[in-house]
Symmetry: C2
Subunit: 498 residues, 2 copies
């Protein structure tokens, strides 16, 4: 792809340069000769008092904005020694970048800091008045990438995710076809939580959810040698910047703000107002809160990876097999909530595994065996597995239709009789298993003594296990499979209300 | 206590009343006769166009501001039928309230919506330009109470809490005198979390913490018949308004904000900026966040009480014995953090009990027996119990030096050898047990079929249990008491780093 760049910049010097016109012209001529092989030329150099206006054109790989700081340094070095003059700052007055994309934009693209126009496959970015900082922080290259990515994404919008079935259980006769959440609500096992998309599990529902946890531990994680860790459920933005979550799903987080202070005097007016009005003054509260710099756990794996940041792992500890089951997860679901299966707050065991490619491919087979054992022998479920596009490829703008067999995500889906016939109804994703290659390993700079590392994770959502099981097996423990009854045969008595 | 009130108000009428001077004067004279036995008098009534200025004085129990809406209604009723005139609105132009307090203020008191001055024990509140809404919402009475409370609190500040020892174990010889957090950090069992006052528990430390949970369940809660529930860990302000937390400790919460929307288009600029700058734009983020209306769990009991709000409990379900061990707690600790014992994020089992006075007093004995069994026989701790002033009395401004034996809080404190000698060192509060009377029962309008209800709770902090145990017994499982070894004899291997 050929890109053309036309840049008008202004160098502000430390002193008047009117007397140095010849030397400056010579400096730029010499430099141009050096840069000619990179298809870069100085179109115009004009000296005026303590400024130099420099126009640069390029058609090659060399992007003029990436040369500007280099030119600044060369100028200061060359002219500084002899003429005691240097460059104070550089401003890009006007910058036009033109490039071709594979497929033309389907609709207009916008981006901060620049105007974007297009004509067929030719896209033009126009920037005005860009300063040093902008150059140093490498914004322009990322702007070009972002425009390319946005155009590419237009072709994938609404296409749905890649999905390829790889295994399915025999059909099973469900015990009923009711919505388990509705039925548990009616029985008083469960109640809506105090805020949207949250639940309060009374003893009967809590017992089922916690039995799922126990089965996952006893039948999957302990037999495979996983060790428990406890992760914080408050995740700072810098972790999500590394994992891509921050750019992938910022509209799905629950954000967390700290108080600016605990000082009782600073909070006195807020307390007075609360006691007098019996309401919360948002305005007064806002004065005492810091801006959010963290959110509530979305998945536990980012903090688990963070815990290994910059470490070198001894070979004898590979593969690392750890899980967190303590951090509570929050996802802002807005309109998509349903029952306990699509919620804003949920409880997940997250096993994370780090090891060599061979270790992880072997582990995947072992985990699939254990999961099959649980879903076939203990739950007696009707379910299937499919390769899907990993979420991070979808949501962080890296869409690809190609799923490889070594890395990628397997979704576990259960038939939900209450939703309708097997063929028509949407099945519930109740479990997944991913091998992610070295994506997070690199992001967190995790090393092993000798080996190249890969990693993966496999979220076990207790609400999803619960609802998949109950949707097929009903609420009466008498009807539950024997394997499950070994873990839970009798529900607690709960609380009776009038 | 005698209070005097001087109020100047203005009634805005629905029409000019110049022609009705006599009728209006008669109306107020008649009313004054009725109100005379309440020591309330109309000092001055002046009619001017569509307004009436009314000055009211009172020295009795009757507070003029509480009569104003009644006068408004009487006026509209009396004059409306015959003269088609009513009161549109009332403004208190000026209001002086004078009362005596038991002890004179030690320093000036301020309050929103009024000036407060004092001379010895005599306190004067002055309000100007107060509208109808202010009257209807009953702010003025609460302002008077708040001033009284603030003056009273000045005498308790810095006095420390009420504390009275009620039981202590024999002295025990500690295994060591190191700070367990520091030593676990050195061994790599534990690491600082990604944000302030949080921790990441690697397998060894996680195993100890989770053993504490198991012991609490097996040795305390299950034998007593407690049933598990699962509470949301996101608590809306309306729950904390009812419990008093919102006015008690607003500077100690972690606040939660939802996105204004999940709509990808609304978040596009934020995502663009994040991808281009690799930083979070607080300004752009703020545009997409709603104001906080909730916070992270401070203690689990408020949500548990909320779950029973307005319910009538069947007698056969009493006493209700439930606990949550799933919600993670957050407390903004600012400068007071230390190790895993004083943290911003922690893990607590919270048993809540609701029943008759007799049931709860009996339960307290049973719980104390179980706790003693754990701390004496399983942990072999050196510890003690003391009556203390419940936090809510202290922090919600209801300070009292009197602790009753029936309701109140018992603190469990452990000797911490690393802090110094038994007599000098501050012991660690590692457990508490409260019976709270009907405070929360009333706040959430919880009823039983027949009985009068009381309630209580008993926070079991896993970090506190862990650190109390390790501070006395060390990190080597060989040195741990036999009772504890039955639960945890060998630590997991963890992860080795180079």
């Amino acid at each position: 792809m050929v890109m053309t760049f036309q840049l008008q910049s202004e160098f502000t010097l430390s002193a008047d340069a009117s007397a140095l016109t010849q030397q400056i012209t010579t400096f730029f001529s010499t430099l141009e000769t050096q840069l000619a092989k990179e298809n870069l030329s100085f179109h115009h150099v004009a000296i005026k008092g303590n400024t130099i206006q420099v126009s640069i054109e390029s058609q090659g790989q060399t992007r003029p904005h990436n040369k500007l700081l280099q030119i600044k340094n060369a100028f200061s070095k060359h002219m500084g020694k002899e003429h005691k003059i240097g460059v104070r700052s550089i401003t890009i007055l006007h910058y036009t970048i033109v490039f071709e994309v594979e497929k033309p934009p389907l609709k207009p693209v916008t981006i901060p800091f620049a105007d974007v126009t297009s004509k067929e496959k030719q896209v033009t970015l126009t920037l005005n008045n860009v300063d040093d900082e902008f150059l140093q922080k490498n914004y322009i290259d990322r702007m070009i990438s972002r425009v390319q990515e946005k155009i590419q994404n237009q072709y994938y919008e609404g296409k749905g995710e890649f999905w390829k079935a790889i295994w399915e259980s025999p059909e099973k006769q469900p015990v009923w076809n009711k919505d388990p959440t509705e039925e548990m609500l009616a029985k008083g096992w469960l109640q809506q939580g105090p805020t949207k998309g949250k639940w309060f599990y009374r003893p009967q529902a809590a017992a089922i959810l916690k039995t799922m946890e126990l089965i996952a531990l006893e039948e999957v994680l302990k037999p495979l040698g996983f060790q428990e860790v406890i992760a914080s459920h408050i995740v700072p933005f810098d972790i999500w910047l590394k994992t891509g979550h921050m750019e992938g799903m910022p509209g799905e987080f629950y954000y967390v703000c700290e108080p600016k202070t605990r000082d009782v005097l600073q909070w006195e007016r807020f307390v007075d107002l609360t006691k007098i009005t019996k309401e919360i003054s948002s305005e007064e509260l806002a004065k005492n809160l810091a801006i959010p710099r963290a959110g509530i756990c979305y998945a536990q794996c980012p903090v688990i990876y963070w815990s290994l940041k910059g470490k070198t792992i001894a070979e004898e500890s590979l593969p690392i097999l750890i899980y967190d089951k303590t951090a509570v997860s929050g996802r802002y679901e807005s309109g998509g909530r349903h029952g306990i299966e699509r919620v804003d707050e949920f409880h997940r065991i997250e096993p994370v595994y780090i090891g060599t490619r061979e270790q992880l491919l072997k582990l995947r087979e072992d985990m699939l065996d254990r999961y099959k054992h649980v879903f076939n022998k203990i739950f007696d479920l009707e379910w299937r597995m499919a390769w899907v596009t990993p979420w991070y490829m979808q949501q962080a703008g890296k869409i690809s239709a190609v799923s490889e067999q070594e890395t990628g995500t397997i979704d576990f889906e259960a038939y939900m009789p209450y939703r309708g016939a097997r063929k028509d109804a949407e099945w519930l994703e109740f479990q997944n298993l991913s091998i992610l290659g070295d994506k997070y390993i690199k992001a967190f700079n995790i090393k092993a003594q000798k080996s190249e590392l890969w990693s993966g994770c496999s979220g076990i959502g207790l609400e999803r296990w619960t609802v998949a099981f109950l949707a097929q097996k009903g609420l009466d423990p008498e009807n539950w499979p024997e394997g499950f009854q070994k873990y839970l045969k009798k529900l607690p008595s709960g609380i009776n209300f009038l």
